[in-house]
Subunit: 217 residues, 2 copies
DNA sequence: TAATACGTTAATGTATACATTAAAACAGAT
DNA sequence: ATCTGTTTTAATGTATACATTAACGTATTA
């Protein structure tokens, strides 16, 4: 399934970095031409992207890159606020070994460095890696796959709002706190601080989306 | 997409009621013959079932109906324990109108009746409907779709263990409690009782699976 | 002019033919 | 007899041809 995988990755990365912008529409044949293969593997890749929530296969009209509305983002953050703190608490209660701690430490340091350097792209990347590393350490494959898809869906909106808000000093500190609670094996505090982290992120993001009058990006 | 939908529904129902048992294997062509259509729509249906976690497309060996191991069930219940209580709390905090309450009441009564009649199949069906109705009332489409898939995955294991355990008196009372807390608009209590409900269900189920030495069903 | 009915078009949905490739079977050699 | 290399086979992966059908445009009529 090299072709399917290839089409999937190409299209996904183009959607995530907005080379294929919100609302972009095309027929299956056009997409097939775009990635230079037949409709069959392209269709399969598009179905996967639809499951990921990144495109919609609109009957008769072709494929549309899903817009991300404020209400979508609210739904997504609601789920993240339930799942991620639970995963963090579980990690805190099982405890991490030294290399595992170092992985999270390293990502957190990268984030702090990026913040100090005012490198928002690097900051966003480290932020993402931290969240994904927590999932990966937790090890529930279903949870990882689902949350990962949600993080991808949120990605575009976050990149848009990243430069429209104050420097993410608090968020960076949040990560530091969450990590400390996990390392200290304090499940309840890890959960609470992660929930607070997401709650802040959600309310900031939604406020910006609404202010911009971008209910539908 | 009538064919895809048809194949998907046929196969899904056959998997859920174990006419296609755990570990059943077949090639795409055999499945296509089974449902009397070409491989194309069948393949698409199988991909959906794979996303649902009900089958695995094993390269070169065909499609296999996913076994449900104790560890899979543990993963599934862990997610349910984070998401369902959150949904119940959210419902409790927004409040339900009369017809919405009546829907949940009616399902709960059905469950109590089934328990009194010793009709375990009817009981299981009402149990399932209660959980799905909570989701549906909550209205987060992503959450509904995901949890719904998890409930389907858990279905087979639950049906196997249903007759191997004591009558589900406590679970029935749990639903009654959760409903009361939602109606009373007590989010924290709704969340706590739902979590307790799932915790009990999970530990009973996992204990039976392990006792039966069915780590892999 | 507006509305409706009909024909055309273009997109997906489906079937099928073909290419690719991994596994199995077999043969030969050590 | 076993291991290895090769051949065969059979399954998926892919391309393509075809069927179906919804949308659009056009023409006719009220």
């Amino acid at each position: 399934m090299a072709r399917v995988e290839d089409a999937y990755e190409q299209l996904k990365s183009q959607i995530l970095d907005q080379r294929l912008p919100f609302g972009f529409q095309a027929t299956e044949s056009e997409i097939a031409d775009l990635v230079d293969m037949s409709r069959t593997p392209v269709r399969e890749a598009l179905l996967r992207l639809q499951f990921d929530g990144l495109v919609e296969l609109v009957p008769r009209r072709g494929v549309r890159v899903s817009p991300v509305s404020a209400s979508d983002m609210a739904d997504i953050y609601e789920i993240l606020m339930a799942l991620e703190p639970a995963a963090a608490a579980s990690l805190a209660s099982r405890g991490l070994n030294a290399p595992e701690i170092e992985r999270l430490e390293s990502i957190t340091r990268d984030m702090e460095t990026a913040l100090a350097d005012d490198d928002l792209d690097a900051w966003a990347m480290a932020d993402d890696r931290f969240h994904r590393e927590i999932l990966s350490l937790h090890g529930n494959r279903r949870l990882t796959a689902f949350v990962s898809a949600l993080l991808d869906q949120a990605h575009r909106a976050r990149m848009i709002t990243l430069r429209l808000r104050a420097k993410p000093i608090a968020s960076t500190q949040d990560h530091r706190d969450v990590l400390a609670h996990i390392v200290n094996r304090s499940p309840e505090q890890a959960k609470a601080s992660f929930a607070a982290h997401r709650e802040r992120a959600a309310s900031e993001l939604l406020a910006i989306l609404r202010d911009l009058r971008l209910p539908q990006l």
